[in-house]
């Protein structure tokens, strides 16, 4: 299967948008808990990163999560969804993307199982987003910072489990879809159009 197939790129786009906008949908509910805990967030980010993790697992291209996070940051900037980080918000998006990609790279060498890999990627991605936000904006004292990171890790672990379930359900769909479409055109294959036309 072509890694850069149109199908894969569409799937990445879908996950990218779901990750970006689901955070907005979940935030009001998540804020009830984070306000009670007196921390500035962590739960919505974990849920948002779940879609990056799913995409990075199903589209095995190195840099996939980073690319998606970069696109998310550009969309967020262009729509003014910058939150408390302002113009520095791309850092808050890209750092977890990088962490997820690095963890996927390391997990291949370490031979981690899929579930553990997805859980760890979601956990560390969420924690790195929390650390980045703290360095840029919040500057929390020790205890609230520790709680913020632990909540991010916990919600990241739970969302990582959901990511595992999603991957198990989506992988056969994507594989079947790829198998039933032998004439799959790659997005980078625009130059191959004449050949495709000949085939037709």
């Amino acid at each position: 299967m072509n890694r850069y197939s149109l199908r894969n790129l569409l799937f990445l786009t879908l996950c990218c948008d779901l990750g970006l906008f689901s955070k907005r949908l979940l935030s009001p509910a998540a804020n009830i808990l984070t306000d009670f805990l007196r921390i500035p967030g962590g739960i919505g980010t974990s849920f948002s990163l779940m879609f990056l993790v799913v995409a990075a697992e199903l589209v095995p291209v190195f840099g996939c999560a980073t690319l998606m996070s970069l696109v998310q940051s550009l969309i967020a900037l262009s729509l003014g969804m910058v939150g408390s980080m302002g113009i520095l918000s791309p850092i808050g998006y890209v750092v977890p993307g990088l962490v997820i990609d690095l963890l996927f790279l390391l997990s291949r060498k370490a031979g981690l199982g899929t579930d553990l890999k997805l859980t760890a990627a979601n956990m560390l991605g969420a924690a790195s987003a929390g650390v980045a936000a703290n360095l840029i904006v919040f500057r929390l004292p020790a205890v609230p910072l520790a709680l913020y990171i632990v909540v991010a890790l916990t919600s990241g672990a739970i969302c990582g489990c959901f990511a595992g379930v999603l991957v198990k359900r989506l992988r056969p769909v994507l594989s079947a879809s790829a198998a039933s479409d032998p004439g799959e055109r790659s997005a980078s294959g625009a130059k191959n159009i004449p050949n495709n036309c000949k085939n037709n």
Binding site: L37, I39, D115, M123, L147, V150, T154, A157, I158, C161
Partner: protein, 159 residues
């Protein structure tokens, strides 16, 4: 095996989060008062400990109208000094309110006797916080308008 490990990790994190949440809520229990920051430390002085010195003076509002007020409270310089925060002529002081309004003061202004106060009552009546209860207001005598008369005063930062 993996599922057991993941469940164990989540359970451990939930326990740690619960402990930290307890400590965080206990430690951060609303100490209602004025937050003083400077010289690498941050102190919350409860309203009862701010002070009860009487002072009075004239204030000018944005229309140029002059009104006389009798306050109780404390001179800001004395309050900072009592809490070990040093102010020099070159210091920059920010007074911030609960609704994120802020005003700037210079160290020279703060060191001028009888100029900058934190008021807790005005004309014998309690100055209220944004959610009711005891609050405070920054009083800067000599200003030509009331822009630095910060209501709902919450924090003083010295740099």
């Amino acid at each position: 095996m993996q599922k057991k490990l993941i469940t164990g990790i989540i359970a451990a994190l939930v326990v740690i989060a619960a402990v930290l949440a307890f400590v965080n809520r206990k430690g951060g229990a609303d100490v209602s008062g004025l937050v003083l920051s400077g010289g690498g430390k941050e102190i919350t002085v409860s309203w009862e400990n701010v002070g009860g010195q009487s002072f009075d003076g004239d204030l000018v509002n944005g229309k140029g109208e002059v009104s006389h007020h009798e306050y109780t409270g404390v001179e800001l310089q004395a309050l900072l000094q009592a809490n070990g925060i040093e102010v020099t002529e070159s210091s920059a002081i920010t007074a911030a309110s609960e609704d994120n309004y802020s005003a700037e003061l210079t160290g020279a202004e703060l060191l001028e006797a009888g100029k900058v106060y934190v008021a807790l009552t005005d004309g014998g009546e309690q100055i209220q916080g944004i959610d009711g209860g005891q609050g405070a207001q920054l009083i800067v005598f000599g200003d030509q308008n009331s822009k630095r008369a910060v209501r709902y005063l919450k924090a003083i930062t010295v740099k």
